[in-house]
Amino acid sequence: MNRSWPVRQTRPPANQTRPGNKRFFAAHPESAAFRQWAASYKPSNSFASTQYHSINAFRLIDAAGAAQPVRWQLEPQTPFTALPGQVDDKQYLQHDLQQRLAQGPLRWTLRLVLAEPGDAVDNPASPWPAQRRSVDAGTLVLEQVDAPEQGACRDINFDPLILPHGIEASADPILAARSAAYSESFNRRSRESLGTGARP
C-alpha cells in the first residue's frame, strides 16, 4: 500500500480516450466490462477510503476437501470522499496516508465474496453479480508505512500463488502470468539492491 503512484493532475473526461487505447479496446471486446466500470469510477481522496479487491478468484478448501471459489475485498472503514479535480501535490496520496497514520491506525474489513455455480472463476475480466453472498473474514489494521525503496515492501515477492494451507489458486491464467512476472520483477529489484546497498 505504499507504492508511489503519482496522482494524475488533470484527468481527461471519461468519454475521451487516447487513440492507442481505442485500438486496444476495439481489438479486445472483453475489455467492455472494464470500460463500463471505469466510466462510473470515482477515485477517492485517500488510500484509506479506497476499496481494494482481487480480480482473480481463489479456492477455499474446507475440512472435507471441498472447494469454494472466492474473490476477496478490503472494504475501507474510513468514509469515502471524492478526489478533488485539481491536486498540486504529486505525492498527495502518500502524504495523506502518512498524516492519517500519525493520528492512528487505519482499518479495512476483509470480505470474501462467494461464487455461485456459473460465475467465472478463471476470468478476471468477468465481474460477479453484486448480490453475491460474502463473509467477513477479519480486519486489516494498518499502523505504519515504510518507504518503498527498502523494507518488507521490497524484500518480499508478493506472488499471488504463494498461498497458505487451505487456500489454492483458481484456474485463472492471469494468476500464473502474475506469478511469473512478479518473480522476474523481484529478481530485478534484488539485483538493483546490490547497486544501491540499501538494507532494511
Partner: protein, 177 residues
C-alpha cells in the same frame, strides 16, 4: 583388482541423474520466461526434481567413494587424464551446488520451500540477488560441462575406441574379449 566397468548401481544412478539433470536444465530455462498456466507446474516440478537430485547426488558421491571404479586407459595422455579428472570434479561440484544454491536462494528470497524444509540462508535481498544469479550461471556452466563430458565420451567410443564409454553403458556388458 580394479573392475572393468562401473558397478550396476553406479551406472543406474548415472543414467537416472543424466535424464533428470538434462530435463532440469530445460525446465529451468523455459519456466522463467513462461507466462502461461505451465509456469506454476514447471516451478513445482523444478523444485521437486531438484530436491530428488540433491538426495541422489549425495548417494552418488558416497557410492563413488565407497565402490571401486575402472581406471582410465593406461595410454591416455597426461593432459587428457587431467581434463578427465578436473571435469568430473566440476560435474560433481555443480551437481551438488545446483540444488543447494536453489534451496539457499529460496531461503534468502523469503520463498516457501518444498516439504517445508528449513531455511539454509537468512532472508536477505542482496544475498538472494547473488544466489539467484549464481544458480543461473552455474546452470549454464553445468550445461557446458555436460556437453564436454558427452563429447569426451563420444571421443572415447568413436575415436579412441577404448572401453571408457562401455564401462558406463546402461545395458548388460559383454564379457571381456
Amino acid at each position: 583388482m580394479k573392475p572393468e566397468a562401473f558397478h550396476p548401481l553406479a551406472r543406474l544412478l548415472h543414467w537416472l541423474m543424466a535424464v533428470l539433470i538434462v530435463a532440469m536444465l530445460f525446465i529451468g530455462v523455459s519456466m522463467v520466461s513462461d507466462l502461461s498456466l505451465r509456469h506454476p507446474v514447471l516451478i513445482s516440478l523444478h523444485k521437486a526434481t531438484g530436491l530428488a537430485l540433491l538426495v541422489l547426488v549425495v548417494l552418488r558421491i558416497g557410492l563413488r567413494l565407497a565402490l571401486p571404479h575402472p581406471p582410465l586407459p593406461r595410454d591416455l595422455p597426461p593432459l587428457q587424464r587431467f581434463a578427465a579428472g578436473a571435469s568430473h570434479v566440476l560435474l560433481y561440484g555443480l551437481m551438488l551446488a545446483m540444488p543447494l544454491l536453489g534451496w539457499a536462494m529460496l531461503s534468502a528470497g523469503g520463498y516457501p520451500r518444498p516439504l517445508q524444509l528449513p531455511a539454509i540462508a537468512p532472508h536477505d535481498l542482496q544475498l538472494y540477488a547473488v544466489l539467484r544469479q549464481a544458480h543461473g550461471w552455474a546452470g549454464y556452466l553445468l550445461f557446458a560441462t555436460i556437453l564436454v563430458h558427452l563429447g569426451a565420451a563420444l571421443m572415447h567410443a568413436l575415436v579412441r575406441r577404448d572401453g571408457v564409454l562401455r564401462s558406463m553403458w546402461p545395458g548388460p556388458l559383454r564379457r571381456s574379449e
